[in-house]
């Protein structure tokens, strides 16, 4: 039986349909990602699953319970990290962890969690003194203070530098290795690609694609991309006409061309650039990514 079952979930704020009928299952032990730009409805969806917001319509079952009506029986089973870190500003790191631990019968030790999140040297720091990334790590630590079977992480890597983000990814991989089920929202496609067994791509309150990252990319692209910057002369139209090109997109002076035969496309691109006298800078060849999938499906980037 799935850990989470969602059928036709809906939630509106006034006239705004934030979640417009989404359905999905999450299996035991899976890292399930929700990828989408700001405002896509990710937070609304997970907070309904956490029991923090009340849905308008649809069925939701989490660990066999309805989060809207199960109260503290439900809350002791799951771990929650909210998108905005909100903690007692004058408390110290270890004090907050102990406090949250006291809400549960089953709990991880404070020292263990501090070590896990690499906060040893901030153990006695007040919350208000933490950097954004440190506060975020503490907030993840609190989400697993009750050793939950299921943990919700809402944009956990926001505010982290690349190194801290990589550390966090290792920690989340550790959760998975321990058999925890993880629901993760993000607007970083690398994060989703690296961590998630399956990803629901969300936009405007709907899931527009749901599969493993690899399958999502393969379903949209069987080609690789050439990327470069060129200040003038070249348009997406010109580029679309090059040999073996399946599609081309331009955002200002940054261009991406998808090609089923990189050497042939490259040859004709260089010829075109020479003919126009157009500079080609920062050229690289890469595989298609979830970002490309999102762009292809919606015509927009995840950062928009």
């Amino acid at each position: 039986m799935p850990v989470i079952e969602v059928r036709d979930l809906q939630k509106a704020y006034g006239d705004l349909q934030a979640v417009a009928g989404v359905s999905f299952d999450v299996a035991e032990g899976e890292v399930f990602g929700m990828l989408g730009p700001n405002g896509a409805g990710k937070t609304t969806t997970v907070e309904i699953l956490e029991g923090l917001r009340i849905r308008d319509a649809g069925q939701v079952s989490v660990l066999g319970l309805d989060p809207a009506s199960s109260g503290s029986d439900f809350k002791r089973l799951v771990g929650v990290q909210l998108q905005q870190v909100a903690l007692y500003p004058r408390l110290r790191v270890h004090e907050v962890i102990s406090l949250f631990g006291s809400f549960y019968d089953r709990r991880a030790s404070t020292d263990e969690l501090i070590a896990l999140m690499g906060l040893e040297d901030r153990r006695n720091a007040r919350i208000a003194e933490l950097s954004g990334g440190q506060a975020q790590r503490l907030s993840v630590a609190l989400a697993v203070v009750n050793k939950p079977r299921l943990v919700f992480l809402d944009e956990p890597s926001t505010g982290m530098d690349p190194q801290a983000r990589r550390n966090l990814w290792e920690i989340i991989e550790g959760f998975k290795a321990d058999g925890m089920t993880v629901v993760l929202t993000t607007h970083y496609m690398e994060e989703a690609e690296r961590l998630c067994d399956r990803v629901a791509v969300m936009d405007h309150g709907r899931i527009i694609a749901l599969d493993s990252p690899g399958a999502l990319v393969r379903a949209s692209f069987d080609e690789d991309a050439i990327e470069f910057v060129s200040n003038d002369g070249l348009t997406a139209n010109d580029l679309g006409g090059l040999a073996a090109v399946t599609s081309a997109t331009s955002q200002g002076s940054a261009h991406s061309i998808f090609s089923s035969d990189i050497p042939r496309t490259m040859g004709s691109l260089l010829d075109l650039a020479a003919e126009r006298g157009a500079p080609l800078e920062g050229m690289r060849v890469r595989h298609a990514t979830l970002e490309d999938v999102f762009l292809k499906l919606t015509g927009r980037t995840l950062r928009d």
Partner: protein
């Protein structure tokens, strides 16, 4: 799960690390009491007030009145003629001047009420609050000595404080009641702040029950208010020389807890409507500020006009102040103790149930 003690500890830490909260709950009332204590503090315990007595009547009745007055230790009688005594009053050398008119004795023997002129400067608070009551008491005694049936003196005042009470004794219990009110009502700011910072929302994602959260907070505010009161009573004794009735201290602690709870409940009730700390503050001010002036803390209730009485009767601080004054220094009751406690308990029950009903995590 037992989160109650950890929550109390959290409240404690949050409180002692919050300089603003510390200032308002500890430093401010201490300064307040300290300043009042120094300015108004009683000098020697047997301090007396100079009162001029102008005898324009030589009857035995007038002599009896003079004798009764001279027996009151709080009054230092000076006899003189009308002109010089009134001049001394104007110079500030007398608190009051009593004029016994010619024909006083004859009028009393005829059984006719005989008004006595009492000159005093109403801008002098001590006179209003201490000397006048003592004089009234003296007149009452004299009255009894002269005639059992009719009042000799017609007066507009009704209050009779115990004769040894001084301004400081009147003011201090009121100031302490005021601190209980402020500690209770403004103590609710902590919860509003947690809601504003969305900490409550985070807590609502845990199995922590709301009663534990609210219960721990209310308990903590209570302890703060109680400690604050202990500190202020001690200061009132040391700095102000207030003669506290030691045998009433346990009852005073009980009244502090009851009154503190009532005001915490009012604070929580107000807090339920405030989205932010900034929003809470003016609302709490509007509720507490009028009480400072209208519930007999600084000004005696009987100096207020009649039309304002209903407002005064609706104010919980009126009852807490009266109860604390009765217990702490044996002040003359405005209401019976049972009424005071009953009204405070009613405020507590009504506002606590409203606050619980209105409590929101976000």
């Amino acid at each position: 799960m037992n989160a109650f003690l950890p929550l109390l500890r959290t409240n404690y830490r949050d409180f002692v690390r919050d300089r603003t909260a510390l200032f308002w709950t500890i430093a401010f009332p201490v300064l307040f009491i300290g300043i009042f204590g120094i300015v108004l503090g009683r000098g020697d315990d047997g301090a007396s007030y100079e009162v001029g007595l102008v005898m324009e009547d030589t009857s035995p009745q007038a002599a009896t009145l003079g004798e009764v007055l001279s027996q009151f230790e709080a009054l230092e009688l000076t006899r003189g003629d009308r002109e010089s005594e009134i001049a001394s009053l104007a110079d500030g050398d007398r608190r009051a001047v009593i004029v016994v008119p010619a024909g006083f004795g004859a009028s009393i023997s005829d059984g006719a009420p005989q008004p006595l002129q009492v000159h005093f400067d109403p801008s002098q608070q001590t006179t209003q609050q201490v000397v006048i009551p003592v004089l009234l008491r003296a007149f009452e005694v004299a009255d009894r000595a002269l005639t059992q049936t009719r009042p000799v003196v017609i007066a507009d005042f009704q209050t009779l404080q115990s004769e040894r009470l001084q301004v400081i004794d009147f003011i201090m219990p009121g100031l302490i009641a005021m601190s209980v009110m402020n500690g209770g009502v403004f103590g609710a700011i902590a919860m509003v702040s947690l809601r504003e910072r969305r900490v409550l929302r985070r807590l609502s994602a845990t199995p922590l029950p709301a009663w534990a959260l609210v219960g721990a907070d209310v308990t903590f505010r209570m302890v703060v208010v109680l400690l604050q009161t202990v500190l202020l009573v001690v200061l009132a004794v040391i700095i102000g020389g207030v003669a506290v009735k030691v045998e009433n201290l346990p009852a005073l602690a009980g009244v502090t807890v009851l009154g503190g709870l009532a005001f915490v409940a009012i604070g929580f009730f107000l807090g339920a409507f405030a989205k932010t700390e900034q929003g809470f503050f003016p609302v709490a001010q509007v509720i507490t500020f009028p009480m400072l002036f209208l519930s007999g803390i600084f000004f005696p209730l009987d100096s207020m006009p009649d039309w304002i009485r209903p407002v005064v009767s609706a104010m919980p601080l009126t009852y807490l102040g009266d109860a604390m004054r009765q217990l702490m220094v044996g002040g003359a009751p405005v209401h019976s103790m049972a009424l005071n406690l009953g009204v405070l308990a009613a405020f507590l029950v009504v506002f606590f149930s409203l606050a619980v009903r209105l409590f929101k995590y976000e």
